[in-house]
Symmetry: C2
Subunit: 347 residues, 2 copies
Amino acid sequence: MVRSDHRPGSQLPVTPTTLADVAERAGVSRQTVSNAVNNPDLLRPDTLERVRQTIAELGYSPNRAARNLRTRTSSLIGLRFTPAQEGTANAMMDRFVHSLVEASDEAGYHVLLFPADDEDPIGGYDNLLRSTAVDAFVVTDTYLGNPQAAWLSQQRAPFVAFGRPWDDDVARHVWVDVDGAAGTRLATQHLIDRGHTRIAWIGWRKDSPIGEDRRAGWVSTMHANGLPTTGMASRVEDVVHSGAEAAAVLLDESEPTAFVCASDTLAMGVLHTLWIRQLAPGRDIAVVGFDDSQVAQVFPVGLTSVRQPLEDVAVEIVRTLSALLSHQPVETRGVLLAPTLAIRGSS
Amino acid sequence: MVRSDHRPGSQLPVTPTTLADVAERAGVSRQTVSNAVNNPDLLRPDTLERVRQTIAELGYSPNRAARNLRTRTSSLIGLRFTPAQEGTANAMMDRFVHSLVEASDEAGYHVLLFPADDEDPIGGYDNLLRSTAVDAFVVTDTYLGNPQAAWLSQQRAPFVAFGRPWDDDVARHVWVDVDGAAGTRLATQHLIDRGHTRIAWIGWRKDSPIGEDRRAGWVSTMHANGLPTTGMASRVEDVVHSGAEAAAVLLDESEPTAFVCASDTLAMGVLHTLWIRQLAPGRDIAVVGFDDSQVAQVFPVGLTSVRQPLEDVAVEIVRTLSALLSHQPVETRGVLLAPTLAIRGSS
DNA sequence: CACCCCCCCTTGATCGATCCAACTGCGTGA
DNA sequence: TCACGCAGTTGGATCGATCAAGGGGGGGTG
């Protein structure tokens, strides 16, 4: 990134400097200035130096609109911003957006946010696409039956999805995702290593493929270690009190010594039940959550949680987008990244 | 907002439709189509209808770059995105950004994110401004000594700050802020109403004007009710364990029955100490936090917390920005909004 | 010496919208 | 009858960059 100098005394001219201004001042043509900016190799070193000096003197920066018009690009990446639901612990968007902004910046892109309209999930995409306001999209909500990915594919709009195309085997778009099953495998194995044998699962309803994926990690690790899973699992809504209820039932019926949860929200429910029953998390009963939310981080003893590598996801997404936009062949259709486990007091 | 139809069968043409295409098809001139979009009043009703129909048929949407170039605007609002710090509960950015995106959309703007570079706090602003990539900025981090507001003012760049210009009495820029003192007044009065008389304060270090503002609300309410404040206050770093330590000291030395905290992070520290001492929050000791973070919402018994009206802040900011950008006189230089109290189990 | 080529740079056209000034047809009043 | 105003429409110029093609000078080659 070029770091412009901004002396306290300098002030932006009323009419910004244009390429023509620079050209005249430097005694060269417009095209030469353009080349100095975009294709420095084409200039003789001394000319390049002279033009660059003039650019610095005048504080010139190419007009985005003009460049966009001519090149038919915008250097913008569209992201439909969906906020964290109130009353849940699920706030990974914040971290992800930050990473995406950073990664995009390094690749020369900016991130454009647009609102989610539940009644018209495609509307925002359609408008931006038609008006050529963005070069590409990052699609984050690839839940089952979401029409966005299919629609964008059909429009031949460049985009990368954060999330696998669960419902559609023939989906031809590019995606980056986190291996949820690997995360719960880490969590379950961690508990087994600590000596637990009766490890319960509290996850989401069966219609959530993400939830089923995470559940699969628990199941496979339990079985691989010859441990029982029957009667040890519960599928509920992703809200705190559902997690609390599920924990209460499981504690009564199956006497688990540890819980693996599909989310930090559910884990907080478990902790609530433990609190009511005067059971100490970490000492009496171990709990592991998913997402490494701020909740997990500041909870008194700390909640052990599976942490998604959102920084890596963002970097991978931007890398893929850059390739797509420069019409390079994209080698792989999907990338699956491994999460880590943030171990804290609750286990 | 215009809702475009996007039938599943339709596909974006390789070369997007232009105004000229619409004009030809509708049998009118380009200017007439432009007027149909921007100044419908100038057209005869039947002509307008015909043009609109053609626009719909062709799925035309004005090219953003061309419009931006000609009108010297971008309909973009720049926001420097700073993520929540790890290990704290302070995640209001998420809610604020969402509100800002919604409010901006309704006013015809989009939000452009750019990364924070700590070494060069103005770099991002400077680049976007020079290249006329955004129309205005929303500045969020108006902490003491932050040069951004002053610099932007000096560049005559339109912007609205979320946060008062604490350090600079002569600052002439427009701002919107939340009345932190009013928030802690609400919190303190709430505790007094519940019968508490020994109410402690845990806040930030003295060099934070925001922290001092919040503290003032506690002080004034205590005094107004003839309650003591000496020896009941502590100023620490905004991290969990500092809050925990401060709570321990205060409990030992001053025997408070309630705590008001400058942040949910500190409140979590208090809750940690209560947990260690086997004291039940809400029953034995009351705790109130600040920010109504997700942490406050999902904590087992729930943490009572001051909630900033971020939706209103966003609306007010966008309203002010729109006025600034249309060169209307801005009536007030600053707007102060009142927070509310989200009451939960901890009090 | 003529020729070609390559390097470096310049010139005119273009992207697609809006701004500007002028032009048309129609009705009105002198 | 004709000037005039008004509403609706028109073609041309413009925003500021990049694309495509063209030109001049120096060096190498036949």
